[in-house]
Symmetry: C2
Protein backbone atom coordinates (compact mmCIF):
# COMPACT_ATOMS: atom_id res chain seq x y z
CA UNK A 1 0.00 0.00 0.00
CA UNK A 2 1.21 3.49 -0.81
CA UNK A 3 2.79 5.38 2.03
CA UNK A 4 1.85 8.71 0.42
CA UNK A 5 -1.41 10.14 1.71
CA UNK A 6 -3.35 13.29 1.10
CA UNK A 7 -4.65 14.21 4.49
CA UNK A 8 -7.16 16.89 5.49
CA UNK A 9 -7.92 18.74 8.69
CA UNK A 10 -11.60 19.67 8.43
CA UNK A 11 -11.96 22.55 10.84
CA UNK A 12 -15.47 23.51 11.91
CA UNK A 13 -16.70 26.95 12.83
CA UNK A 14 -18.94 27.29 15.87
CA UNK A 15 -21.91 25.02 16.49
CA UNK A 16 -24.74 26.80 18.29
CA UNK A 17 -26.38 25.04 21.27
CA UNK A 18 -29.62 24.61 19.32
CA UNK A 19 -27.99 23.49 16.07
CA UNK A 20 -29.18 20.06 14.94
CA UNK A 21 -27.04 16.99 14.30
CA UNK A 22 -28.31 17.09 10.73
CA UNK A 23 -26.91 20.58 10.27
CA UNK A 24 -23.50 19.70 11.75
CA UNK A 25 -23.35 16.54 9.66
CA UNK A 26 -24.27 18.47 6.51
CA UNK A 27 -21.45 20.91 7.17
CA UNK A 28 -19.02 18.01 7.52
CA UNK A 29 -20.36 16.41 4.34
CA UNK A 30 -19.66 19.68 2.52
CA UNK A 31 -16.07 19.55 3.78
CA UNK A 32 -15.84 15.88 2.73
CA UNK A 33 -16.85 16.87 -0.79
CA UNK A 34 -14.06 19.44 -0.88
CA UNK A 35 -11.72 16.80 0.49
CA UNK A 36 -12.72 14.41 -2.28
CA UNK A 37 -12.16 17.09 -4.91
CA UNK A 38 -8.70 17.69 -3.48
CA UNK A 39 -7.79 14.01 -3.51
CA UNK A 40 -7.88 13.37 0.23
CA UNK A 41 -7.57 9.83 1.53
CA UNK A 42 -8.15 10.72 5.17
CA UNK A 43 -9.87 13.61 6.99
CA UNK A 44 -9.63 14.66 10.64
CA UNK A 45 -12.74 16.28 12.15
CA UNK A 46 -12.74 18.09 15.53
CA UNK A 47 -13.42 16.94 19.08
CA UNK A 48 -17.16 16.97 19.96
CA UNK A 49 -17.78 17.69 16.30
CA UNK A 50 -21.53 17.10 16.38
CA UNK A 51 -22.61 19.60 19.04
CA UNK A 52 -21.67 22.78 20.78
CA UNK A 53 -18.96 22.44 23.47
CA UNK A 54 -21.55 21.69 26.17
CA UNK A 55 -19.11 21.30 29.12
CA UNK A 56 -19.28 25.08 29.32
CA UNK A 57 -22.79 24.72 30.84
CA UNK A 58 -23.52 23.49 34.35
CA UNK A 59 -26.33 21.04 35.00
CA UNK A 60 -26.76 19.51 38.43
CA UNK A 61 -28.48 16.49 36.91
CA UNK A 62 -26.08 15.15 34.30
CA UNK A 63 -28.81 13.21 32.53
CA UNK A 64 -30.27 16.54 31.42
CA UNK A 65 -27.29 16.70 29.07
CA UNK A 66 -28.15 13.41 27.39
CA UNK A 67 -29.15 15.18 24.16
CA UNK A 68 -25.48 16.03 23.55
CA UNK A 69 -24.33 12.39 23.63
CA UNK A 70 -24.38 9.66 20.96
CA UNK A 71 -25.63 6.21 21.90
CA UNK A 72 -24.34 4.57 18.73
CA UNK A 73 -21.78 5.43 16.09
CA UNK A 74 -22.85 5.67 13.41
CA UNK A 75 -26.46 6.32 14.38
CA UNK A 76 -29.34 7.49 12.23
CA UNK A 77 -28.15 11.11 12.24
CA UNK A 78 -24.46 10.43 11.61
CA UNK A 79 -24.86 7.64 9.05
CA UNK A 80 -24.98 10.10 6.10
CA UNK A 81 -21.44 11.22 6.99
CA UNK A 82 -20.17 7.64 6.95
CA UNK A 83 -21.98 6.99 3.66
CA UNK A 84 -20.58 10.08 1.96
CA UNK A 85 -17.07 9.23 3.13
CA UNK A 86 -17.22 5.63 1.99
CA UNK A 87 -18.73 6.70 -1.34
CA UNK A 88 -15.65 8.84 -1.84
CA UNK A 89 -13.25 6.29 -0.36
CA UNK A 90 -12.15 8.64 2.40
CA UNK A 91 -11.29 7.46 5.89
CA UNK A 92 -11.77 9.80 8.84
CA UNK A 93 -11.45 10.61 12.55
CA UNK A 94 -14.50 12.00 14.35
CA UNK A 95 -14.87 13.24 17.91
CA UNK A 96 -18.16 13.04 19.82
CA UNK A 97 -19.66 12.57 23.29
CA UNK A 98 -20.34 8.89 23.93
CA UNK A 99 -23.05 7.48 26.22
CA UNK A 100 -22.67 3.73 26.59
CA UNK A 101 -25.57 1.28 27.02
CA UNK A 102 -24.59 0.86 30.67
CA UNK A 103 -24.55 4.59 31.35
CA UNK A 104 -20.87 5.56 31.08
CA UNK A 105 -19.96 8.87 29.48
CA UNK A 106 -16.75 9.49 27.56
CA UNK A 107 -15.23 12.15 25.33
CA UNK A 108 -14.58 9.84 22.41
CA UNK A 109 -13.14 9.65 18.92
CA UNK A 110 -13.46 6.94 16.31
CA UNK A 111 -11.20 5.98 13.44
CA UNK A 112 -13.06 5.02 10.26
CA UNK A 113 -11.56 3.33 7.23
CA UNK A 114 -12.21 4.12 3.57
CA UNK A 115 -15.19 1.72 3.48
CA UNK A 116 -16.98 3.50 6.33
CA UNK A 117 -16.14 0.85 8.92
CA UNK A 118 -15.22 1.91 12.45
CA UNK A 119 -11.75 0.46 12.99
CA UNK A 120 -10.70 2.07 16.26
CA UNK A 121 -12.00 3.95 19.28
CA UNK A 122 -10.26 6.30 21.68
CA UNK A 123 -11.66 7.77 24.90
CA UNK A 124 -10.02 10.95 26.18
CA UNK A 125 -7.56 10.23 28.97
CA UNK A 126 -6.56 13.74 30.07
CA UNK A 127 -9.81 15.47 30.98
CA UNK A 128 -9.18 19.14 31.77
CA UNK A 129 -11.23 21.46 33.89
CA UNK A 130 -13.34 20.66 36.92
CA UNK A 131 -16.40 18.75 38.08
CA UNK A 132 -18.35 21.29 40.16
CA UNK A 133 -19.70 24.76 39.35
CA UNK A 134 -17.08 27.50 39.74
CA UNK A 135 -18.70 30.90 39.94
CA UNK A 136 -15.58 32.95 39.25
CA UNK A 137 -15.28 31.64 35.70
CA UNK A 138 -16.93 33.50 32.80
CA UNK A 139 -18.03 30.07 31.61
CA UNK A 140 -17.49 26.56 32.90
CA UNK A 141 -15.13 23.82 31.75
CA UNK A 142 -16.89 20.80 33.22
CA UNK A 143 -15.26 17.94 31.35
CA UNK A 144 -14.50 16.22 34.65
CA UNK A 145 -18.25 16.35 35.38
CA UNK A 146 -19.61 15.09 32.12
CA UNK A 147 -17.00 12.48 31.23
CA UNK A 148 -15.11 9.69 32.89
CA UNK A 149 -11.39 9.38 32.09
CA UNK A 150 -10.86 7.16 29.08
CA UNK A 151 -10.49 3.48 29.89
CA UNK A 152 -8.97 2.29 26.61
CA UNK A 153 -5.47 3.74 26.86
CA UNK A 154 -3.63 5.04 23.83
CA UNK A 155 -4.15 2.59 20.99
CA UNK A 156 -2.73 2.54 17.49
CA UNK A 157 -4.17 1.05 14.31
CA UNK A 158 -2.72 0.00 11.00
CA UNK A 159 -4.63 1.89 8.35
CA UNK A 160 -3.99 3.86 5.17
CA UNK A 161 -0.57 2.27 4.85
CA UNK A 162 0.68 3.52 8.21
CA UNK A 163 0.24 3.26 11.96
CA UNK A 164 -2.27 5.79 13.29
CA UNK A 165 -2.95 6.90 16.86
CA UNK A 166 -5.66 9.14 18.29
CA UNK A 167 -5.88 11.77 21.01
CA UNK A 168 -8.28 14.53 22.01
CA UNK A 169 -7.68 18.19 22.81
CA UNK A 170 -5.98 18.52 26.22
CA UNK A 171 -4.13 15.23 25.59
CA UNK A 172 -1.91 17.17 23.19
CA UNK A 173 -0.33 19.09 26.10
CA UNK A 174 0.87 15.84 27.76
CA UNK A 175 4.04 14.26 26.39
CA UNK A 176 2.94 10.87 27.72
CA UNK A 177 0.15 10.83 25.12
CA UNK A 178 2.49 10.84 22.16
CA UNK A 179 5.18 8.73 23.81
CA UNK A 180 2.93 5.78 24.53
CA UNK A 181 1.70 5.79 20.94
CA UNK A 182 5.14 6.22 19.38
CA UNK A 183 6.42 3.33 21.52
CA UNK A 184 3.72 1.32 19.71
CA UNK A 185 4.99 2.54 16.36
CA UNK A 186 2.66 5.50 15.65
CA UNK A 187 3.60 7.44 12.53
CA UNK A 188 0.53 9.68 12.42
CA UNK A 189 -1.30 11.00 15.47
CA UNK A 190 -4.64 12.73 14.87
CA UNK A 191 -6.65 14.80 17.31
CA UNK A 192 -9.44 17.33 17.52
CA UNK A 193 -9.82 20.18 19.97
CA UNK A 194 -12.15 22.84 21.41
CA UNK A 195 -9.90 25.44 23.06
CA UNK A 196 -11.24 28.73 24.41
CA UNK A 197 -8.97 31.64 23.55
CA UNK A 198 -8.93 32.67 27.24
CA UNK A 199 -7.50 30.67 30.13
CA UNK A 200 -10.36 30.82 32.64
CA UNK A 201 -8.46 29.16 35.49
CA UNK A 202 -5.68 31.75 35.95
CA UNK A 203 -4.22 34.79 34.29
CA UNK A 204 -2.42 33.98 31.07
CA UNK A 205 -1.97 36.37 28.13
CA UNK A 206 -4.44 35.27 25.44
CA UNK A 207 -1.89 35.06 22.63
CA UNK A 208 -0.28 32.13 24.44
CA UNK A 209 -3.29 29.94 23.78
CA UNK A 210 -2.42 29.59 20.10
CA UNK A 211 1.30 29.46 20.86
CA UNK A 212 0.81 26.51 23.21
CA UNK A 213 -1.51 24.78 20.76
CA UNK A 214 1.17 24.72 18.09
CA UNK A 215 4.19 24.42 20.39
CA UNK A 216 2.98 21.18 21.94
CA UNK A 217 1.95 19.52 18.68
CA UNK A 218 5.11 20.58 16.86
CA UNK A 219 7.51 19.55 19.62
CA UNK A 220 5.83 16.20 20.11
CA UNK A 221 5.76 15.55 16.36
CA UNK A 222 9.52 16.06 16.45
CA UNK A 223 10.30 14.22 19.69
CA UNK A 224 8.24 11.20 18.56
CA UNK A 225 9.13 11.45 14.87
CA UNK A 226 5.55 11.33 13.66
CA UNK A 227 3.01 13.45 11.84
CA UNK A 228 0.46 15.24 14.02
CA UNK A 229 -2.84 16.57 12.71
CA UNK A 230 -4.85 18.85 15.00
CA UNK A 231 -8.31 20.04 14.00
CA UNK A 232 -10.18 22.79 15.83
CA UNK A 233 -13.76 23.64 16.40
CA UNK A 234 -13.28 27.38 16.19
CA UNK A 235 -14.97 30.76 16.38
CA UNK A 236 -17.52 32.30 18.73
CA UNK A 237 -19.71 29.54 20.13
CA UNK A 238 -22.50 30.98 22.29
CA UNK A 239 -20.27 33.89 23.36
CA UNK A 240 -17.14 31.79 23.94
CA UNK A 241 -14.31 32.35 21.47
CA UNK A 242 -12.52 29.15 20.46
CA UNK A 243 -9.13 29.31 18.76
CA UNK A 244 -8.66 27.98 15.24
CA UNK A 245 -5.16 27.18 14.09
CA UNK A 246 -5.88 23.68 12.77
CA UNK A 247 -2.64 22.35 11.42
CA UNK A 248 -0.66 19.46 10.00
CA UNK A 249 2.82 19.07 11.52
CA UNK A 250 5.43 16.80 10.01
CA UNK A 251 8.09 14.81 11.91
CA UNK A 252 10.53 17.72 11.65
CA UNK A 253 8.12 19.64 13.88
CA UNK A 254 7.35 22.09 11.10
CA UNK A 255 3.77 23.00 10.31
CA UNK A 256 3.13 22.16 6.66
CA UNK A 257 -0.49 23.30 6.50
CA UNK A 258 -2.34 25.81 8.66
CA UNK A 259 -5.94 27.06 8.82
CA UNK A 260 -6.42 30.78 8.38
CA UNK A 261 -10.04 31.24 9.51
CA UNK A 262 -12.20 30.38 12.52
CA UNK A 263 -14.87 28.93 10.24
CA UNK A 264 -15.55 25.69 8.39
CA UNK A 265 -12.28 25.26 6.49
CA UNK A 266 -10.46 22.35 4.95
CA UNK A 267 -6.66 22.35 4.91
CA UNK A 268 -4.76 19.56 3.20
CA UNK A 269 -1.26 18.25 2.77
CA UNK A 270 0.16 15.40 0.77
CA UNK A 271 2.48 13.57 3.14
CA UNK A 272 4.92 10.68 2.82
CA UNK A 273 4.70 8.52 5.93
CA UNK A 274 8.27 7.38 5.27
CA UNK A 275 9.37 10.81 6.53
CA UNK A 276 8.69 9.45 10.02
CA UNK A 277 11.43 6.85 9.55
CA UNK A 278 14.50 9.08 9.65
CA UNK A 279 13.99 10.22 13.23
CA UNK A 280 12.91 6.79 14.41
CA UNK A 281 16.10 5.27 12.98
CA UNK A 282 18.58 7.92 14.15
CA UNK A 283 18.27 10.52 16.92
CA UNK A 284 15.04 8.96 18.25
CA UNK A 285 16.00 5.33 17.84
CA UNK A 286 14.41 4.38 21.14
CA UNK A 287 16.05 0.96 21.41
CA UNK A 288 19.48 2.56 21.21
CA UNK A 289 18.97 5.65 23.30
CA UNK A 290 16.13 5.39 25.85
CA UNK A 291 17.16 4.62 29.45
CA UNK A 292 14.06 3.28 31.15
CA UNK A 293 15.95 2.57 34.37
CA UNK A 294 15.67 6.31 35.05
CA UNK A 295 12.03 6.82 33.97
CA UNK A 296 10.22 4.82 36.66
CA UNK A 297 8.31 7.58 38.42
CA UNK A 298 6.71 8.74 35.17
CA UNK A 299 4.52 5.65 35.31
CA UNK A 300 4.43 5.03 39.05
CA UNK A 301 3.88 8.48 40.59
CA UNK A 302 0.88 10.63 39.69
CA UNK A 303 1.55 13.97 41.38
CA UNK A 304 4.62 15.94 42.40
CA UNK A 305 6.56 14.39 45.27
CA UNK A 306 9.66 16.14 46.53
CA UNK A 307 12.55 13.79 47.23
CA UNK A 308 12.76 13.16 51.00
CA UNK A 309 15.92 15.24 51.44
CA UNK A 310 14.20 18.24 49.85
CA UNK A 311 10.89 17.77 51.59
CA UNK A 312 12.69 17.77 54.95
CA UNK A 313 14.92 20.76 54.27
CA UNK A 314 13.89 24.18 55.46
CA UNK A 315 13.56 26.55 52.53
Amino acid sequence: MSRILTIGAAQLGPIAPEESRASAVNRMIELLKQAGDRGCNFVVFPELALTTFFPRYYEEDISKMDRYYEREMPGPETRPLFEEASKRGIGFYLGYAELTPDGHRYNTAVLVDETGKVTGKYRKVHLPGHSEYEGQRPWQHLEKRYFEPGDLGFGVWRQHGGIIGMALCNDRRWPETYRVMSLKGAELIVLGYNTPDVNTSAFEPNHLRMFHNHLTMQANAYMNSCFVVGTAKAGVEDGCMLIGGSCIAQPSGEIVSLATTVEDELITSTIDLDLAKMGKETVFNYARHRRIEHYGIIASQTGVELPPELADAAE
Copy 2:
Protein backbone atom coordinates in the same frame (compact mmCIF):
# COMPACT_ATOMS: atom_id res chain seq x y z
CA MET B 1 14.79 33.34 50.63
CA SER B 2 13.90 35.46 47.63
CA ARG B 3 12.34 33.65 44.73
CA ILE B 4 13.57 36.32 42.32
CA LEU B 5 16.85 35.42 40.64
CA THR B 6 19.02 37.03 38.05
CA ILE B 7 20.23 34.16 35.99
CA GLY B 8 22.86 34.04 33.27
CA ALA B 9 23.60 31.72 30.38
CA ALA B 10 27.35 32.06 29.79
CA GLN B 11 27.81 30.87 26.22
CA LEU B 12 31.32 29.98 25.10
CA GLY B 13 32.74 30.32 21.64
CA PRO B 14 34.85 27.48 20.28
CA ILE B 15 37.62 25.84 22.29
CA ALA B 16 40.47 24.63 20.10
CA PRO B 17 41.85 21.11 20.67
CA GLU B 18 45.13 22.54 21.94
CA GLU B 19 43.56 25.23 24.14
CA SER B 20 44.58 24.91 27.79
CA ARG B 21 42.27 24.51 30.78
CA ALA B 22 43.72 27.77 32.09
CA SER B 23 42.59 29.58 28.97
CA ALA B 24 39.06 28.14 29.06
CA VAL B 25 38.79 28.89 32.78
CA ASN B 26 39.97 32.46 32.20
CA ARG B 27 37.31 32.97 29.57
CA MET B 28 34.68 31.73 32.02
CA ILE B 29 36.05 33.99 34.75
CA GLU B 30 35.66 36.94 32.39
CA LEU B 31 32.01 35.97 31.86
CA LEU B 32 31.58 35.60 35.63
CA LYS B 33 32.83 39.16 36.10
CA GLN B 34 30.25 40.39 33.62
CA ALA B 35 27.65 38.31 35.45
CA GLY B 36 28.62 39.92 38.74
CA ASP B 37 28.36 43.38 37.23
CA ARG B 38 24.90 42.53 35.97
CA GLY B 39 23.71 41.25 39.33
CA CYS B 40 23.60 37.56 38.52
CA ASN B 41 22.97 35.03 41.29
CA PHE B 42 23.43 31.97 39.13
CA VAL B 43 25.24 31.24 35.86
CA VAL B 44 24.92 28.27 33.50
CA PHE B 45 28.06 27.24 31.57
CA PRO B 46 28.03 24.80 28.62
CA GLU B 47 28.46 21.04 28.38
CA LEU B 48 32.16 19.97 28.20
CA ALA B 49 32.99 23.58 28.94
CA LEU B 50 36.70 23.03 29.64
CA THR B 51 37.80 21.41 26.38
CA THR B 52 37.00 21.06 22.75
CA PHE B 53 34.18 18.64 21.92
CA PHE B 54 36.56 15.68 21.72
CA PRO B 55 33.96 12.98 20.85
CA ARG B 56 34.40 14.18 17.29
CA TYR B 57 37.78 12.40 17.22
CA TYR B 58 38.24 8.64 17.07
CA GLU B 59 40.84 6.91 19.21
CA GLU B 60 41.01 3.15 19.37
CA ASP B 61 42.56 3.31 22.82
CA ILE B 62 40.22 5.39 24.92
CA SER B 63 42.88 6.13 27.52
CA LYS B 64 44.63 8.28 24.91
CA MET B 65 41.79 10.74 25.51
CA ASP B 66 42.48 11.01 29.24
CA ARG B 67 43.75 14.59 28.85
CA TYR B 68 40.20 15.73 28.12
CA TYR B 69 38.79 14.38 31.40
CA GLU B 70 38.77 15.82 34.94
CA ARG B 71 39.75 13.55 37.83
CA GLU B 72 38.49 15.97 40.47
CA MET B 73 36.12 18.93 40.54
CA PRO B 74 37.35 21.42 41.41
CA GLY B 75 40.93 20.51 40.61
CA PRO B 76 43.99 22.72 40.46
CA GLU B 77 43.06 24.16 37.06
CA THR B 78 39.38 24.75 37.75
CA ARG B 79 39.68 26.05 41.29
CA PRO B 80 40.12 29.67 40.16
CA LEU B 81 36.64 29.52 38.61
CA PHE B 82 35.14 28.32 41.89
CA GLU B 83 37.03 31.00 43.81
CA GLU B 84 35.93 33.80 41.52
CA ALA B 85 32.32 32.67 41.70
CA SER B 86 32.27 32.37 45.47
CA LYS B 87 34.00 35.76 45.81
CA ARG B 88 31.13 37.22 43.86
CA GLY B 89 28.47 35.08 45.54
CA ILE B 90 27.42 33.47 42.29
CA GLY B 91 26.31 29.86 42.02
CA PHE B 92 26.81 27.98 38.79
CA TYR B 93 26.37 24.89 36.62
CA LEU B 94 29.41 23.50 34.80
CA GLY B 95 29.70 20.64 32.32
CA TYR B 96 32.87 18.55 31.96
CA ALA B 97 34.17 15.08 31.16
CA GLU B 98 34.56 13.07 34.35
CA LEU B 99 37.05 10.23 34.92
CA THR B 100 36.39 8.52 38.23
CA PRO B 101 39.10 7.02 40.46
CA ASP B 102 37.91 3.55 39.45
CA GLY B 103 38.07 4.32 35.74
CA HIS B 104 34.50 5.18 34.76
CA ARG B 105 33.91 7.96 32.25
CA TYR B 106 30.84 10.19 32.25
CA ASN B 107 29.62 13.35 30.55
CA THR B 108 28.96 15.23 33.76
CA ALA B 109 27.67 18.51 35.18
CA VAL B 110 27.92 19.88 38.70
CA LEU B 111 25.75 22.33 40.57
CA VAL B 112 27.68 24.78 42.72
CA ASP B 113 26.22 27.06 45.35
CA GLU B 114 27.10 30.71 46.04
CA THR B 115 29.90 29.66 48.43
CA GLY B 116 31.68 27.57 45.80
CA LYS B 117 30.53 24.25 47.23
CA VAL B 118 29.51 21.44 44.87
CA THR B 119 25.93 20.64 45.86
CA GLY B 120 24.85 18.30 43.08
CA LYS B 121 26.12 16.13 40.27
CA TYR B 122 24.45 14.89 37.11
CA ARG B 123 25.79 12.36 34.61
CA LYS B 124 24.31 12.48 31.11
CA VAL B 125 21.68 9.80 30.60
CA HIS B 126 20.88 10.17 26.89
CA LEU B 127 24.19 9.74 25.10
CA PRO B 128 23.77 10.42 21.39
CA GLY B 129 25.88 9.18 18.53
CA HIS B 130 27.78 5.94 18.22
CA SER B 131 30.65 3.94 19.70
CA GLU B 132 32.68 2.83 16.65
CA TYR B 133 34.29 4.77 13.83
CA GLU B 134 31.85 5.61 11.02
CA GLY B 135 33.70 6.57 7.89
CA GLN B 136 30.78 8.17 6.07
CA ARG B 137 30.55 11.01 8.61
CA PRO B 138 32.47 14.27 8.06
CA TRP B 139 33.40 14.02 11.73
CA GLN B 140 32.54 11.55 14.46
CA HIS B 141 30.04 11.77 17.33
CA LEU B 142 31.51 9.15 19.67
CA GLU B 143 29.78 9.93 22.94
CA LYS B 144 28.73 6.29 23.25
CA ARG B 145 32.46 5.40 23.02
CA TYR B 146 33.89 7.86 25.48
CA PHE B 147 31.15 7.88 28.13
CA GLU B 148 28.97 5.44 30.00
CA PRO B 149 25.28 6.32 30.39
CA GLY B 150 24.71 8.33 33.55
CA ASP B 151 24.08 6.24 36.65
CA LEU B 152 22.64 8.93 38.90
CA GLY B 153 19.23 9.47 37.30
CA PHE B 154 17.65 12.91 37.16
CA GLY B 155 18.13 14.58 40.51
CA VAL B 156 16.87 17.90 41.82
CA TRP B 157 18.36 20.19 44.44
CA ARG B 158 16.99 22.97 46.60
CA GLN B 159 19.16 25.99 45.94
CA HIS B 160 18.81 29.70 45.27
CA GLY B 161 15.30 29.65 46.70
CA GLY B 162 13.99 27.10 44.23
CA ILE B 163 14.23 23.51 43.07
CA ILE B 164 16.83 23.04 40.36
CA GLY B 165 17.42 20.10 38.02
CA MET B 166 20.21 19.44 35.54
CA ALA B 167 20.48 17.87 32.11
CA LEU B 168 23.02 17.81 29.27
CA CYS B 169 22.65 18.47 25.55
CA ASN B 170 20.81 15.57 23.89
CA ASP B 171 18.76 15.04 27.08
CA ARG B 172 16.80 18.14 26.07
CA ARG B 173 15.22 16.29 23.14
CA TRP B 174 13.73 13.63 25.45
CA PRO B 175 10.51 14.54 27.29
CA GLU B 176 11.30 11.96 29.97
CA THR B 177 14.21 14.15 31.11
CA TYR B 178 12.04 17.05 32.13
CA ARG B 179 9.12 14.93 33.32
CA VAL B 180 11.12 13.00 35.89
CA MET B 181 12.50 16.24 37.30
CA SER B 182 9.18 18.09 37.33
CA LEU B 183 7.60 15.13 39.13
CA LYS B 184 10.24 15.85 41.79
CA GLY B 185 9.23 19.51 41.88
CA ALA B 186 11.77 21.10 39.51
CA GLU B 187 11.14 24.78 38.84
CA LEU B 188 14.36 25.49 36.96
CA ILE B 189 16.13 23.04 34.65
CA VAL B 190 19.60 24.00 33.45
CA LEU B 191 21.65 22.38 30.72
CA GLY B 192 24.59 22.92 28.43
CA TYR B 193 25.05 21.68 24.89
CA ASN B 194 27.50 21.18 22.00
CA THR B 195 25.37 20.79 18.88
CA PRO B 196 26.86 20.67 15.37
CA ASP B 197 24.84 22.70 12.89
CA VAL B 198 24.71 19.69 10.55
CA ASN B 199 23.02 16.37 11.24
CA THR B 200 25.74 13.90 10.29
CA SER B 201 23.58 10.76 10.69
CA ALA B 202 20.96 11.51 7.99
CA PHE B 203 19.80 14.28 5.72
CA GLU B 204 18.10 17.09 7.60
CA PRO B 205 18.00 20.73 6.47
CA ASN B 206 20.51 22.63 8.60
CA HIS B 207 18.09 25.34 9.74
CA LEU B 208 16.18 22.68 11.69
CA ARG B 209 19.07 22.27 14.10
CA MET B 210 18.34 25.61 15.79
CA PHE B 211 14.58 25.12 15.44
CA HIS B 212 14.76 21.80 17.31
CA ASN B 213 17.07 23.27 19.93
CA HIS B 214 14.52 25.90 20.88
CA LEU B 215 11.37 23.88 20.14
CA THR B 216 12.27 21.14 22.61
CA MET B 217 13.34 23.47 25.41
CA GLN B 218 10.35 25.78 24.97
CA ALA B 219 7.76 23.01 24.78
CA ASN B 220 9.18 21.19 27.77
CA ALA B 221 9.37 24.41 29.78
CA TYR B 222 5.65 24.80 29.11
CA MET B 223 4.60 21.15 29.55
CA ASN B 224 6.50 20.93 32.86
CA SER B 225 5.81 24.50 33.98
CA CYS B 226 9.41 25.33 34.72
CA PHE B 227 12.18 27.60 33.56
CA VAL B 228 14.74 26.09 31.21
CA VAL B 229 18.19 27.56 30.62
CA GLY B 230 20.23 26.15 27.75
CA THR B 231 23.82 27.25 27.18
CA ALA B 232 25.81 26.48 24.05
CA LYS B 233 29.41 26.00 23.21
CA ALA B 234 29.20 27.62 19.81
CA GLY B 235 31.11 28.58 16.70
CA VAL B 236 33.64 26.81 14.52
CA GLU B 237 35.58 24.32 16.63
CA ASP B 238 38.34 22.67 14.63
CA GLY B 239 36.28 22.92 11.45
CA CYS B 240 32.99 21.82 13.01
CA MET B 241 30.32 24.52 13.28
CA LEU B 242 28.36 24.38 16.54
CA ILE B 243 25.08 26.25 16.87
CA GLY B 244 24.67 29.04 19.40
CA GLY B 245 21.17 30.06 20.41
CA SER B 246 21.72 29.92 24.15
CA CYS B 247 18.45 30.92 25.76
CA ILE B 248 16.35 31.29 28.87
CA ALA B 249 12.78 30.00 28.48
CA GLN B 250 10.09 30.74 31.03
CA PRO B 251 7.22 28.42 32.02
CA SER B 252 4.99 29.91 29.32
CA GLY B 253 7.43 28.39 26.83
CA GLU B 254 8.49 31.82 25.63
CA ILE B 255 12.18 32.65 25.26
CA VAL B 256 12.93 35.67 27.44
CA SER B 257 16.63 35.98 26.63
CA LEU B 258 18.55 34.77 23.58
CA ALA B 259 22.20 34.84 22.53
CA THR B 260 22.97 36.59 19.27
CA THR B 261 26.56 35.45 18.60
CA VAL B 262 28.52 32.21 18.35
CA GLU B 263 31.19 33.59 20.69
CA ASP B 264 31.72 34.04 24.42
CA GLU B 265 28.52 35.88 25.37
CA LEU B 266 26.56 36.34 28.56
CA ILE B 267 22.79 36.65 28.40
CA THR B 268 20.77 37.31 31.53
CA SER B 269 17.21 37.48 32.73
CA THR B 270 15.69 38.36 36.07
CA ILE B 271 13.14 35.67 36.75
CA ASP B 272 10.53 35.06 39.44
CA LEU B 273 10.45 31.36 40.27
CA ASP B 274 6.84 31.79 41.39
CA LEU B 275 5.92 32.01 37.71
CA ALA B 276 6.33 28.22 37.67
CA LYS B 277 3.44 27.86 40.11
CA MET B 278 0.53 28.83 37.88
CA GLY B 279 0.93 25.92 35.50
CA LYS B 280 1.73 23.46 38.28
CA GLU B 281 -1.50 24.44 40.07
CA THR B 282 -3.83 24.53 37.06
CA VAL B 283 -3.48 22.90 33.63
CA PHE B 284 -0.43 20.87 34.72
CA ASN B 285 -1.60 19.96 38.18
CA TYR B 286 -0.27 16.44 37.90
CA ALA B 287 -2.14 15.02 40.88
CA ARG B 288 -5.45 16.05 39.31
CA HIS B 289 -4.79 15.24 35.70
CA ARG B 290 -2.12 12.59 35.12
CA ARG B 291 -3.37 9.03 34.43
CA ILE B 292 -0.45 6.75 35.17
CA GLU B 293 -2.54 3.64 34.53
CA HIS B 294 -2.04 4.39 30.82
CA TYR B 295 1.68 5.32 30.94
CA GLY B 296 3.20 1.97 31.85
CA ILE B 297 5.22 1.21 28.73
CA ILE B 298 7.05 4.53 28.95
CA ALA B 299 9.01 3.11 31.86
CA SER B 300 8.89 -0.61 31.05
CA GLN B 301 9.59 -0.77 27.31
CA THR B 302 12.77 0.65 25.79
CA GLY B 303 12.26 0.38 22.05
CA VAL B 304 9.29 0.40 19.70
CA GLU B 305 7.12 -2.71 19.94
CA LEU B 306 4.11 -2.99 17.69
CA PRO B 307 1.02 -4.32 19.45
CA PRO B 308 0.59 -8.02 18.59
CA GLU B 309 -2.43 -7.44 16.37
CA LEU B 310 -0.43 -4.97 14.28
CA ALA B 311 2.74 -6.99 14.22
CA ASP B 312 0.82 -9.97 12.88
CA ALA B 313 -1.20 -8.10 10.28
CA ALA B 314 -0.01 -7.98 6.69
CA GLU B 315 0.66 -4.43 5.63
